[in-house]
């Protein structure tokens, strides 16, 4: 259910020769039926994938080690795609698709996109296959990874061929051909290819099928919105006209839980995003901060019907299974470890809000944060090794990251006003958060190392509370 397309099978075949590996990935995808899901649910038009030119290369080497802190960006060149017949549509598409590809890959923070005016080669004159490419010309300007592409528009069909090369080893790492009858944006093809590129380089499927839920005041009230991972296609999800916030994605990406006030009463809404199913938990007191248990149709939330704000475990239908915290005081903001065996949460049991970890096997509760008087909003990394949170200190609020290796926590933001509500991308490579650095609250994205901090989207009003969805196609 979670992340269908990145399971251990893929990792096992990493050691096969490249051509065979590409083939296996394709076969595996067909076997898993993800293409059909893709056909049916994501793409309004048919996109056909085909294996092109089985090329001998060895890919048992990770270009990007996602587990090691490394700030080095790989220099990448994406020249303008070759137009096959040279018609107007192709020229236009070549431009927009190559730009979009560079933009989308740049979003990951892994690459340094080389400026096109330094390029010595023009695909229009050379070609897109290895035998036509003079890799010397690409190495000469520092290119380590090269993506070549071609566009063929005939009738109402568009065919795009995209290839990723290691320009030092002169090897094909990914080669794909996509056919579509989509007359609009090449965005879906580009995202699909990006997913392949990132998979081949990191062994993870990345974030290209993920979305971000957030809260915006653009309509005059706090309402929940959803946009694509890169800020595109934002749309308003709730229309309650009071206060709606704290969105939380189920791990299959199909359900969204959130808190909303209706006629002055607060309720926890658990809703299917496509269907009309859903329940409301509106117990006396507060019903806030939902967080789904990974891989289960269960969620934790803070309820205060007992007179004390405690975290409870609920079924996806809103029925209380059990109480998860028991000390007197405020307990809120649960976040589960990826295996669901532990839960980080905020408690003021020590007098100030601090982050604690509950181990469900041993029932032990350990305090995680000791520095400062206000540490809240924990978010457990999808890789399981870190927790990000927000800390108030000296009139600033900063995003901090702490591992379980006993080392001190590290602030990822500094001197930029209030930085709050960190949320991990599903591959654990990026963090979305909210910041007042430009005045109003806006959503930003940065790498796990705090680099490449940039605004995610431009909308009127304040945007807060971003929550990154799992990387699944729904």
């Amino acid at each position: 259910m979670i992340n269908k397309r990145s399971n251990p099978v893929c990792l096992k075949i990493l050691n096969l020769p490249g051509d065979l590996r590409l083939f296996c990935v394709e076969v595996k995808q067909i076997m898993k039926g993800s293409i059909f899901i893709f056909f049916k649910k994501v793409c309004p038009v048919a996109i056909i994938f085909s294996l092109i030119v089985p090329f001998s290369c060895w890919a048992g080497y990770d270009y990007i080690d996602i587990t090691t802190p490394s700030l080095r960006k790989i220099p990448m060149a994406i020249p303008l795609f070759k137009t096959m017949s040279g018609n107007k549509k192709e020229v236009k598409l070549s431009q927009s698709a190559s730009e979009l590809l560079a933009e989308t890959l740049d979003f990951t923070g892994y690459f340094k996109m080389l400026e096109s005016d330094t390029f010595l080669e023009d695909l229009q004159k050379t070609g897109i296959v290895a035998s036509k490419i003079n890799f010397n010309n690409w190495r000469g300007i520092g290119t380590e990874l090269l993506i070549t592409g071609s566009v063929l528009a005939a009738g109402d069909k568009v065919e795009m061929e995209l290839r990723l090369y290691d320009s030092f080893k002169e090897r094909l790492l990914v080669g794909k051909r996509y056919t579509t009858s989509d007359k609009g944006s090449p965005r879906k093809i580009i995202r699909r290819f990006c997913s392949e590129v990132i998979y081949s380089l990191t062994g993870s499927r990345g974030i290209f099928d993920s979305k971000i839920a957030f809260v915006s005041t653009g309509s005059g009230n706090k309402e929940i919105y959803i946009c694509d991972f890169d800020g595109h296609n934002s749309r308003q999800e709730t229309h309650n006209k009071e206060i709606s916030f704290f969105p939380a994605w189920s791990s299959d990406g199909k359900w969204l839980a959130y808190t909303a006030y209706k006629k002055g009463k607060m309720g926890l809404y658990i809703k299917h995003l496509k269907g009309k199913q859903g329940v409301v938990v509106a117990k006396k007191g507060i019903n806030i901060s939902p967080a789904w248990v990974p891989g289960k149709f269960e969620l934790a939330a803070t309820l205060s019907f007992s007179g004390d704000q405690k975290i409870y475990l609920l079924t996806g239908r809103g029925k209380i299974i059990k109480r998860l915290t028991d000390k007197w005081g405020i307990d809120c903001s649960p976040s589960f470890s990826p295996d669901g065996k532990k839960m980080a949460f905020v408690s003021d049991r020590s007098g100030t809000p601090q982050i604690y970890i509950k181990d469900f096997d041993s029932e032990r509760v350990d305090r995680l944060t000791f520095h400062g008087k206000y540490n809240t909003e924990p978010s457990w990394s999808p890789r399981g090794d870190k927790i990000v949170y927000s800390a108030i200190e000296n009139g600033e609020i900063n995003i901090c990251v702490v591992g379980f290796d006993g080392r001190e926590s590290i602030p990822l933001t500094r001197h930029t006003g209030y930085n709050e509500s960190p949320s991990w991308s599903p591959d654990g490579s990026l963090i979305a958060f909210t910041s007042t650095r430009d005045g109003l609250y806006k959503i930003y994205v940065m790498t796990v190392y705090g680099t490449d901090q940039r605004r995610l989207l431009v909308l009127p009003g304040n945007q807060t509370n971003p929550k990154w969805s799992p990387n699944v196609i729904n």
């Binding site: 507060i286 806030i288 704000q309 405020i330 809120c332 809000p353 206000y374 809240t376 108030i392």
Partner: protein
């Protein structure tokens, strides 16, 4: 002798005539005086009556004035009372209690205000009240919803301890969602960390 007699006779006739005349004249005068007296009495009576009437009218007028004044005073008093009541109600609604940062403890000032609120609640047994808990913008939205609730609950517990039926008091937390002062400074934050009372 004859002449003397004639004189005497004449005298006899004349004198009574005179006498008669005198008496007649006298009588006439007498009648006039009576009439005058009567008239005077009547006039006096009329005057008295008029006076009496005027006095009565004056009294009536004064009574009316007095009554009006009384009514006015009464109205004014009622108005004042209503005003006072409204003011008390306004005060109840508008006087927030305030909290320290990240705290839901009631300060002594907050307790004094709550005592006044308890009095009002006792004077107005028909009213139910929603206690809203609020926070300043600092800190996180989720934690602030919880903190806002603790502030509202602290006020509720204090009032029930003063004998107010808990069924008349409900709570809701708005966290940092409804600031009274949207500025970003200490003064605004102090105003925003509050419990607010709304009469239903």
């Amino acid at each position: 002798m004859g002449k003397k007699l004639w004189v005497r006779l004449l005298l006899l006739l004349v004198v009574p005539g005179f006498l008669f005349t005198v008496s007649c004249a006298q009588k006439e005068i007498k009648t006039d005086t009576v009439m005058l007296e009567q008239q005077q009495a009547e006039a006096e009576a009329a005057r008295l009556a008029a006076l009496e009437k005027a006095q009565a009218e004056e009294l009536e007028r004064q009574r009316v004035i007095e009554e009006a004044q009384l009514r006015e005073t009464q109205l004014r008093e009622e108005e004042a009372m209503a005003y006072e009541k409204a003011a008390a109600r306004e005060m109840f609604m508008n006087e927030d209690i305030h909290f320290a940062f990240d705290k839901s403890l009631l300060t002594s000032m907050a307790q004094d205000i709550l005592k006044k609120k308890a009095e009002w609640l006792r004077d107005n047994p028909g009213n139910t009240v929603v206690i809203e808990g609020h926070c300043d913008e600092r800190g996180t939205t989720e934690y602030n919803i919880a903190l806002g609730e603790r502030r509202a609950l602290a006020a509720k517990v204090f009032l029930t301890d003063l004998g107010i039926d808990s069924s008349r008091l409900s709570t809701i937390s708005y966290g940092e969602e409804r600031p009274v002062d949207p500025s970003h400074n200490q003064e605004a934050w102090a105003k925003n960390r509050r419990a607010h009372f709304v009469i239903e």
